[in-house]
Amino acid sequence: MSHHIIDFKDVHFTYPDGTKALDGISFRITHGESVGIVGANGAGKSTLISHMNGYLLPAKGTIIIGDMHLNKSTINNARKTVGVVFQNPDDQLFMPTVFDDVAFGPLNLGMTEERVVERSNEALNTVGCSHLKDKPPHHLSMGQKRAVTIAGVIAMQSDILVMDEPAASLDPKSRRQLINLLKEFRHTKIIASHDLDLIMDVCERCLVISDGKVAADGATGELLTNEQLLEENNLELPLSLQNR
């Protein structure tokens, strides 16, 4: 199934203030892969993720999503294919109630009302937030907000799931539930995180980003045990591998 592919070719991006955030990034992610993206603060992970559904468009280079070239005219289709959970949940919750927010995506995909209600309830259940249904999102705790944004993207059932720091500010039990959920998710998934244990658990493949470039690309088990590589990128061994 070729339509679950993400292909970056020599992608460059510079912010308006002159910060060079991506500096010639290339990689190809194929159907069903689960890929972790790690790197120091400011390495360019969030910038990279913002390119995956056209929030930002590259200054130079090409991005292919499925069988489409990503550009202004294909953005809307790409957004149906790629569901993105951004780093800051406050920017993603905009509807009056939690339920309305989760239903927003499915409604826009043009589903019938019954399907929308069913899917939204399902998604809220999955992240354990059914009891928050009627609350206004700006009255939730940080972890609850994050869980709801995840539900909002799950409800769309996109082919490709992209997440930026999904586990930040989740309590240990919710984090574990998220990991289990991600493991069950059969489609292509891409996860940027500083939680290296989560990456170890969920992703088979890993990209190490450094100064807007791909510093390493390979099997998670190998990269995240390579102490020299980790040291160079402000990272350290996953906790589960320390003290052994």
Binding site: V84, Q92, D100, F104, N108, H138, M156
Partner: protein
Amino acid sequence: MLNFDKEYFNIGYLDTLAYKNTFVHRLDPRVKLVTTIVFVFMVVSFPKYELSKLIPFFIFPVFMSAAGEIPARFILKKLLFVSPFVFFVAIFNPVFDTAAMYNLYGIKFSGGWVSCISIMIRFTLTISSALLLVATTSFPGVCRALERLYVPKVFVVQLFFLYRYLFVLAEETMRIVRAINMRTFGRKKYGLKIFISTIGLLFMKTVERSERIYHSMCSRGFNGEIRLLKMDKTGFADIVFAVTAIALFIIFRRYDIARILGELAL
């Protein structure tokens, strides 16, 4: 400036009230909206010097706040908050209109005073019922009702975003104010320079955040049209509510209930 926190949470409070579950909250938003519009129209349509016929209309806001479990103190506070504006408009009446109208126990009331009081009463009635509408329906609920009453979508969506970004602005302001307070240790004067740069920062942050929110809406398929679940249904209770309320308004409008009751009592 710390008061800002309180002000902000008060805006949010109106929202919180809207998520109660009472008879009034469960009514179809459209029915509440139409009833409130009729109410406002009736109240405003009285002649300039009307006083006694206005009194029975207080039943509506009192009913809404009692049955909707909306604390009257909250509504009164909000009323007080905006009252200076109306007071300014009304207070000129006694100045210009000095013809004597009533003579109560020897004290002469000029037409100006009567119309001034009439304006204040109308203001209290209309604003409190509008506040109660939002407090029992939620602002988005009102927008949804407007949309379903065939108000053009452009207006509804504008209104909706106005409300949403109001919160964004309030939240950002609160964050900045909090951050400043945290490191000024109660020193009262921040200085003009900090004040100005704060306003600039606030503007930048709000614009950027609104942009990010807009983009995350797009990434969930938004293309200029807000699709809302049409879950409200008009039921028997809604019709009973609307018919009773509007019938009462018409009776109050035509007959001087306060005077009739007074005469009956004598």
